[in-house]
Symmetry: C2
Subunit: 358 residues, 2 copies
Amino acid sequence: MSLPPGARIGILGGGQLGRMSAIAAATLGFRAHVFAPEPDGPGLQVAAERTIAGYDDADALARFADAVDVVTFEFENVPAGALSVLAPRVPCRPGADVLATCQDRLAEKAFLRRVGVPVAPFAAVATERDLPAALAAVGLPAVLKTTRLGYDGRGQAVVRTEAEARAAVARLAPAPFILEAFVPFAAEVSALVARAEDGSAILYDVAQNRHLHHILDESLAPAPIAPASAEAARAHARAVADGLGLIGVAAIEFFLLSDGSLLGNEIAPRPHNSFHWTIEACRISQFEAHIRAVAGLPLPDPGRHHAAIMRNLIGPEGMALLPALLAGPGWSVHLYGKAEARAGRKMGHATRLLPPSP
Amino acid sequence: MSLPPGARIGILGGGQLGRMSAIAAATLGFRAHVFAPEPDGPGLQVAAERTIAGYDDADALARFADAVDVVTFEFENVPAGALSVLAPRVPCRPGADVLATCQDRLAEKAFLRRVGVPVAPFAAVATERDLPAALAAVGLPAVLKTTRLGYDGRGQAVVRTEAEARAAVARLAPAPFILEAFVPFAAEVSALVARAEDGSAILYDVAQNRHLHHILDESLAPAPIAPASAEAARAHARAVADGLGLIGVAAIEFFLLSDGSLLGNEIAPRPHNSFHWTIEACRISQFEAHIRAVAGLPLPDPGRHHAAIMRNLIGPEGMALLPALLAGPGWSVHLYGKAEARAGRKMGHATRLLPPSP
């Protein structure tokens, strides 16, 4: 399938990832149709067509499916019910099985291990009764996480004793959980792969990420890490994409240990915050690569021509930086069209190009 | 006036210039409201708000004016009637006087001369009776042009004899016309200036342009011309912007003569086809510069980091290049969302980055 100019690309989700994907779709001559529950989400503001309805509105989903040529997703936590309406009617890229794997931390970790990506020791905790065995397998300190719907640090707790683990289970209930060994990492890095229907793929340079309060604050690319570690991250990303049968982009987050080895942490089968710098620093941004893959267009080398640093603009503190970023000669500013700068909310980002080679 | 994030920027005109301006506005966190007569124009497809109505629909224009914080224009031939509805209600950038000057080739040429930009000899031809005096002043060969609404070579004719001049007047009537000396130019170049309300301005590097059948085919930037000629073009652009009291961007097209001197030809008080390469090759594109000026944001150095070549994709022949452009590793492709690839129609463009210095 290769969609012609003017084809209609459905994007489920109306946040900033959908917004930047819709702009990329328009730039390639496609018509973006954004489906989102919020009446004025960032993605809706740049879409040719809009459906404002809940993800549980089967009628609206069916009409959306019938009105587009392909559907993609700005987030992995798409309800199974929505997919069951969409998938029989229209190609979904990535597909339901990819989303299912990435929605569940247990399935995700098991999948990573299966395709050869090392992961920290982990164990399932369906109920509090599973805790002793899980703690015995994983050790302490550990991180207890809900298996589903966690992001930006929500739904997880670091536990240092069995009592803390029990308290965390009680607090984060209802379960199920995954208990993971706490990883004393030296750095966090991410890799991005775009994969086409025919199995061809492109890999971006690895980004190094710094989080603040569990939210991505800054990404630097290429990551200033050992070339062997960067190459391993890219190879793992390729293995993940092939293992998933992915059509589209996916980011894989890794912990980098002090010995240069990597542990896979999460898969995001969509454009990823840590690759926003690709808009300025590459010929083909992650958003364009995603739309190209979804629409069946070729995936040539992304053509990175600069190194780059990307800073998120989060909440009122982030927005307070805006005047300086706009006035200075160095930063490319992206705002997402969100009305209210609540604490912890990603309002935009800014990218600064750096000389091509570190 | 400096508009805050979320402010509403009205764009009159729904073509590709409005489309790329609307995307730039969204990227800066503004809400683009596009007013256009065609139900599915390129600009409407990426706008947060849309008004589909004629430029003579005073009610729709008034509602549009009341719904936005500032209005800008994708084209200079805005009917005076539309401006008379908009201007009392909302800041218009550029203003009615700028548009009036650029709508009329006689006023434009007189203005260029007034601000010190050399122009080819010209004379007004209100009716056929003015021809002998005009021909005596201008000489032959010459170019007869309608003073208004000409673009891409429409409304003009090269005349080599008085008989041809009379025939052209009859064919292009109703008048008025301008008769301009035919310029045996060595090259066509254009300069782009962005000017803020406070009079500060930024200049882009000069582009060299190649036309085919009177339509821009290719732009190369920086123009491979003598530095003194490029500097003169930029200085002229600055003088034009200051003379107009421009808020926004304007492109000035010049003929470059074989002795390195310049003759001013046209002013376009808006983003210009010959500067589309700024999207990839500069930190601040011409569209972002325009929106920044219109919204009262700072205008730092545009930060060109590459040289570039831009090719228009015109009609079916242009679209036939698409598969190769999409597959190759070098070209950034922009399509405008136009349904039908009619002959001579600008369907998109593609930009290739070149090493920073020639």
